[in-house]
Symmetry: C2
Subunit: 182 residues, 2 copies
Amino acid sequence: MRTLKYAILGLINREAMTGYDLMKMFNLELVNFWYAQHSQLYPELKKLTDEGLITYETVLQGQKLEKKLYSITEAGKIAFLNWLKKQDLLEPTPKDIFRLKVFFIESMTKEDILKHFSYQLDLRKEKLERLEATMAQHPYSKTISDVFSPLYGDYIVLKSAIMRERTYIDWLLDCIKEIENS
Amino acid sequence: MRTLKYAILGLINREAMTGYDLMKMFNLELVNFWYAQHSQLYPELKKLTDEGLITYETVLQGQKLEKKLYSITEAGKIAFLNWLKKQDLLEPTPKDIFRLKVFFIESMTKEDILKHFSYQLDLRKEKLERLEATMAQHPYSKTISDVFSPLYGDYIVLKSAIMRERTYIDWLLDCIKEIENS
DNA sequence: AGAGCCATGTAAAAAGTTACATGATTCG
DNA sequence: CGAATCATGTAACTTTTTACATGGCTCT
């Protein structure tokens, strides 16, 4: 389905950037719903260039260091907008190793079960805190923005990530309570 | 990380079964947190057999049809339990194409945005209904079971899937309301 | 001078998907 | 007898991860 392709096109469509910039976007902004390693990104950039969907100009950083500043082409914009407009069926539910282990809970002792749940709870709480800190300083809620600003998309996917973590935590707490009282 | 390996071991640990049985488990019971195609499963079964973690005996179904009934070995049990006991760090957040499209919302018209959200809402509601129907006839809530029964794991991961869908739907409804009033 | 970041790539392997391929059994 | 299901595999390809590999820039 070439999803990475469209994620890249969408980002470059917003603003010209280098592969390194894209990596920062994936690791910082999109990390809650898409990501890639640089070893996947650079070959994909080459491919998109070959397909005529993006182009680059070489820019000098300092004396020698060359970086490639990618921009989207007209063909790239069309491809991106077509992908964006397309309605997709539901994806298969995401895989989740913790849930898989919980499924096999009958093979664990009560002690191990509670250890697993409380560790997972710690990790999830920490993650939720990070997300909430990000939200607290998010520009969308701080400025007079409207839903047609690029910030709005960023804002609502962050909100969804927070809601998702809270639900996961609620579930963990439910389970812990039920298991402790057994 | 060979997660499929442990999913298989865990299932065969519960009860001897064929590759076909395993596929049914993946498609019906584990689908909310793990799954695989049969083209991935059969080679993995061969590999696990070579590794001495499972063995099989050939059983005749009817006159000619041979099926392989797999059982777990002692080494398999140990490998499974070690995996189960290990505490893992959080996985990266699952990828989500719909959220990715929402991130790029500023490139859509209000009309297209609302079309996307309402279609996604329909799909998610349908999925939630299926999950709730499954829950309604789930044996754990119907019989006098305790948390150490194999049914309990099944039951709580189903509960988590329902909570997850509800949260997704809540988020969609939030967004729709906010966008409509803009 | 050294740490941390900027910047870009390739190679090899693992994991996962889609398509190809075949044949038996069961039940109505 | 035909449809649905049972049953098992391989081939080709795509996607993703981990490791290898190199070198410049900035700031203290």
